[in-house]
């Protein structure tokens, strides 16, 4: 249930978070409230940390936003559908 697959692609759960963060920066609680998959807050925090460490999102003052690298991953995921 991590965010990054062994082949470097992002999981469906991670894609959901990245899509949410394409708009305005959100806190972890904002993200948890907006997910359709009902991920609990502790999982959101774990996944946001993994995405941040992978450079796909960044954090400033407790709010998360997608990076260019993250947008590329979302674009690639959409293109492969």
């Amino acid at each position: 249930m991590g965010c990054i697959n062994p082949d470097g692609t992002v999981t469906e759960a991670a894609r959901e978070l990245l899509r949410l963060l394409e708009g305005k920066p959100l806190t972890d609680r904002d993200v948890a409230a907006r997910t359709l998959s009902g991920q609990p807050l502790y999982m959101i925090r774990s996944r946001l940390r993994e995405l941040r460490e992978a450079g796909l999102i960044e954090e400033e003052a407790g709010r998360f936003r997608i990076t260019e690298k993250g947008r590329e991953r979302v674009f690639l995921a959409r293109a492969s559908l």
Binding site: M1, G2, C3, P40, L41, Y42, M43, R45, S46, R47, R49, E50
Partner: protein, 221 residues
């Protein structure tokens, strides 16, 4: 009888302490890497089991999984732990779902290196040197350790008692009261005893509480 020299030579078992911050950790789990701090804002029942693919543990896991929705309603999460590998955990919970029809919805820590088991004093060498005993740690929403229960390898835990403990602690926090022996949700609670003579006199005159004596008063909430 045990000799004094044997007692002195026995290595000290590290145990966390009630009322203090729960020891922090990062763990590999069946739900990915999780840190204890990820649970801030919700209560957590952290529990250990001796080993995957064992019968008592399987009954406990099914019991915990059945409780999980109720615990979530109480703002309380669950997380298991044993010193088995992540692949063993995955195989076991798939086995439980396929053969016994119970989906395991909470994460399980693979503590192969025993770091967290050691941090929380989950290994009791008198019971087993290679397995964790049946521990339960109740950690509150501010990450303070509020309760610990230790069961031996042979005795499965009482799930109702674990839920009762969380309910009692949450009532204590919300209303500033204590709970009597065998308290159940909805039952009378204990009002903390007054600590001055003046307060004692006020307490016995208080119509909101039922007092057996000035130090022993109960009320409904």
């Amino acid at each position: 009888m045990e000799q004094v020299s044997e007692i002195i030579e026995r290595p000290a078992l590290m145990l966390p302490r009630l009322g203090e911050p729960a020891p922090q950790f990062e763990a590999v789990t069946t739900h990915g890497k999780i840190r204890l701090e990820d649970f801030k804002g919700s209560w957590l029942i952290l529990f250990s089991h001796p080993a995957d693919f064992t019968p008592v543990c399987t009954t406990e896991f099914m019991g915990f999984a059945r409780l999980h929705p109720k615990l979530r309603e109480m703002n309380c999460e669950l997380m298991g732990l044993s010193i088995d590998s992540i692949y063993s955990h995955i195989a076991w919970i798939r086995n439980i779902e396929q053969n016994l029809g119970q989906k395991i919805t909470f994460p399980i820590i693979a503590d192969s290196g025993r770091q967290i088991a050691s941090l929380y004093g989950m290994i009791m060498p008198g019971e087993s040197r290679t397995e964790t005993v049946r521990c339960v740690f109740i950690i509150d929403d501010r990450q303070t350790l509020r309760a610990m229960l230790y069961y031996p390898l042979t005795t499965g835990r009482n799930m109702d008692e674990i839920v009762r403990m969380v309910e009692a602690l949450q009532i204590t926090d919300e209303f500033g009261v204590a709970t009597p022996a065998n308290w159940q949700p909805g039952g009378d609670v204990i009002v903390p005893p007054p600590n001055t003579q003046e307060l004692a006199e006020e307490r016995v005159a208080d119509k909101e509480v039922q007092c057996k004596d000035w130090y022993f008063c109960q009320k409904k909430i």
